[in-house]
Symmetry: C2
Subunit: 416 residues, 2 copies
């Protein structure tokens, strides 16, 4: 069965009931990241460029068209690179799906939070599965899977939300396939969050255009795979673990993902430390092992400094912790220089082991695997603490709003 | 030197003075095609979807934002597939460049026709050269070069028109590279003209975003080539024939391009005909050699029927000539069935030979090569006749407007 057929079925509820509570938490986490990113230059510039009046809320203030809201909010939510990640999808799902469904819902006066979460759930699942279907080659050659698979997932979310009929859904899927784009080479520039925004807009527009009668080729996604180095992995459609979205990861540290397994392992430490020996997958040694970072940005790529920050009580969840004054803090530097980092081929890319020597000369070893599932209660606690660190007082209001049956309180908080 | 460097130089006037008169004719031809296409469903749907107020004219009526105008007009101008073609670019240049420069000019209150034509000239040239640089593989694997190379050309036009500085131009080029898209599999659906519209919008937005301060990777186009099966053909940058745009072709018949060499050869016939023997490149035998078309659409892919139409005085420049009643006209069918079509490997894809037997039993052979350059006077006469066939009385008003030093009369005619 073709990729288009599978996407159509996902939009029609093929997978049955899913983890709506997890998607609700994803919406909360995405909204916190978007609010925290609203003053980033990419967010400000795109918002200024849109002079349009419309029904769809812009994070940080105002309303615009659904297409422009998806573009702006998609870029804003990904500006800090702190939103959720899925390692099958090979990218960030909520970054694209959430701004797309929210913009479509407001545009079409769909107010039910339950309906919106249901659409976000099938759209996120479709994005992950299309990411798996395209495979690693697509990413390795240079495509930004967050954007490409994300746009396709956004159209599945849109088709579900607007209850497009089968013909319209097929056209929407064809339309998004010819507009999906995004290059990984943009990492490190505003082009990276822009890719997420363009993908969200592409999902919104393809949905609305198909609803309005635009036609497209029925095999668009198949062609997209063939032209964009897709592997057509059939395992993408397996039904044995229906909700692949369940394995989504939330970021709890405002730094390179390669550091996260170590930072989670360090949470187990319970006393003053005199020595730290970190073991990690060899791939990370050239990515985030800067032994003496000179700036806040460089601290985000340093095992030694982020370990020093953690054992010294500097919160790595807080974006402002990664400042130039952190990099030059003499006490932190003294701790930093006691940290040893060694590669270990027996570890996966998502695992880290830390040998600790406490001040009382006892030792301990802590291990963390990021791919190990987090129970919902723990995940909720961590995500809420992260939101507190990111947006302070707004976090509580956002949490309350997200429980509402009606979407408008969420949008009120997002507009700020 | 990198592709980005070459594009920057083209935007800065590297190639010196160029054939502005030809570009002026391209603008006229594009505008006639757009006016003729304004009632096509794709044009109507996109125009309805844009509820935006702005400074940029929509073909057929109203004003909207620069981005939306580029999207709508780009799709409208290509809806009939009757706009100009460049065989090096491997697509339609004006389809993307013209709507982009017109929308940017109106948005930024640039009124000088000379400035707009200059920008369209360098943008069209850049599109052709990027098309050559990407090469045939890019097209063969499934990308719609009109859209991909077109978007990149549109940003060069935009940078020139808005006089972006060097840094801004580099960012604009990087931004368009991550947003450029378009699949050839959309041919035969509204997705084809939509690709042209999306490309025009991408050019407009990337220009405006870079002007407003968005940043992007400096090697975007190089990455685009690497990920999109580009061949990096260095011949694209040759300086020996500086203006490759000079070889642009205008379509004079509202049917498959494979028929045009024959239809041009048939123009030499000067008396009643009893037999026609058409020779053509073998590739076309499976594309447009329907011996007994049943519908108007099928007539567009029939040597025998279009030859019969021509010798019977039915104008193949007129879109309405390709009707179902033409397909079933007994007199035309009688002529159609006397036409023989044979493949000839010695002919190029752009050549055709026709052996004619006149009613007085004399014979003649006519040959046409579409790649032979057309002198400006002949080209102008033919393009104007085509515009008369397409839009009747509006053609004269459009011709007058195109001579104006100020762009507003052209936009008045386009709004209708």
């Amino acid at each position: 069965m073709s990729a288009e057929e599978k996407l159509l079925r996902i939009s029609q509820g093929w997978l049955g009931e899913g983890p709506v509570d997890l998607i609700q938490l994803c919406l909360f986490d995405w909204a916190a990241c978007a609010l925290a990113g609203k003053d980033e230059p990419v967010a400000q510039i795109l918002a200024r460029q849109s002079g349009i009046e419309g029904n769809a809320s812009v994070v940080g203030g105002g309303k615009t068209s659904a297409a422009d809201a998806a573009l702006i909010n998609g870029s804003t939510g990904h500006a800090l690179d702190y939103d959720d990640t899925h390692f099958d999808h090979l990218g960030h799902t909520s970054a694209v799906i959430m701004p797309a469904v929210l913009a479509l819902a407001e545009d079409q006066s769909i107010t039910s939070t339950a309906q919106i979460l249901e659409a976000a759930l099938v759209g996120s699942e479709a994005a992950v599965r299309i990411g798996l279907w395209l495979g690693r080659d697509h990413y390795q050659v240079g495509f930004h899977q967050t954007a490409t698979s994300g746009a396709i997932g956004a159209v599945v979310a849109g088709a579900r939300l607007l209850q497009l009929n089968e013909t319209q859904t097929r056209h929407a899927i064809g339309l998004v396939a010819t507009g999906a784009s995004g290059l990984k080479g943009q990492f490190g520039t505003m082009g990276k969050p822009l890719n997420a925004g363009l993908a969200a807009r592409s999902g919104v527009e393809s949905t609305l255009w198909a609803q309005a009668g635009l036609t497209a080729d029925a095999n668009g996604v198949t062609q997209f795979g063939a032209t964009h180095h897709g592997q057509s992995n059939e395992c993408a459609w397996s039904e044995d673990a229906p909700w692949k979205i369940a394995r989504i990861s939330h970021k709890f540290h405002a730094c390179c993902h390669g550091l996260h397994a170590m930072l989670e392992a360090l949470r187990e430490i319970n006393g003053p430390v005199v020595e730290l020996n970190v073991q990690t997958h060899p791939r990370w040694m050239t990515v985030c092992n800067n032994p003496s970072p000179a700036t806040g940005l460089e601290c985000k790529f340093s095992y030694a400094m982020t370990a020093a920050m953690t054992v010294s009580g500097v919160d790595t969840a807080v974006i402002a912790s990664f400042s130039d004054s952190t990099a030059t803090d003499a006490k932190l530097i003294a701790v930093r220089d006691t940290v040893k980092v060694t590669p270990d081929e027996t570890l996966s890319e998502m695992q880290s082991r830390v040998d600790v020597t406490y001040a009382d000369e006892t030792t301990a070893t802590f291990f963390h695997d990021l791919s190990a599932p987090l129970d919902m209660k723990t995940r909720e606690t961590r995500v809420r603490a992260k939101a507190d660190a990111l947006i302070g007082g707004q976090a509580a209001a956002l949490w309350d709003a997200i429980q509402s049956e009606d979407i408008s309180p969420i949008m009120d908080v997002l507009r700020g």
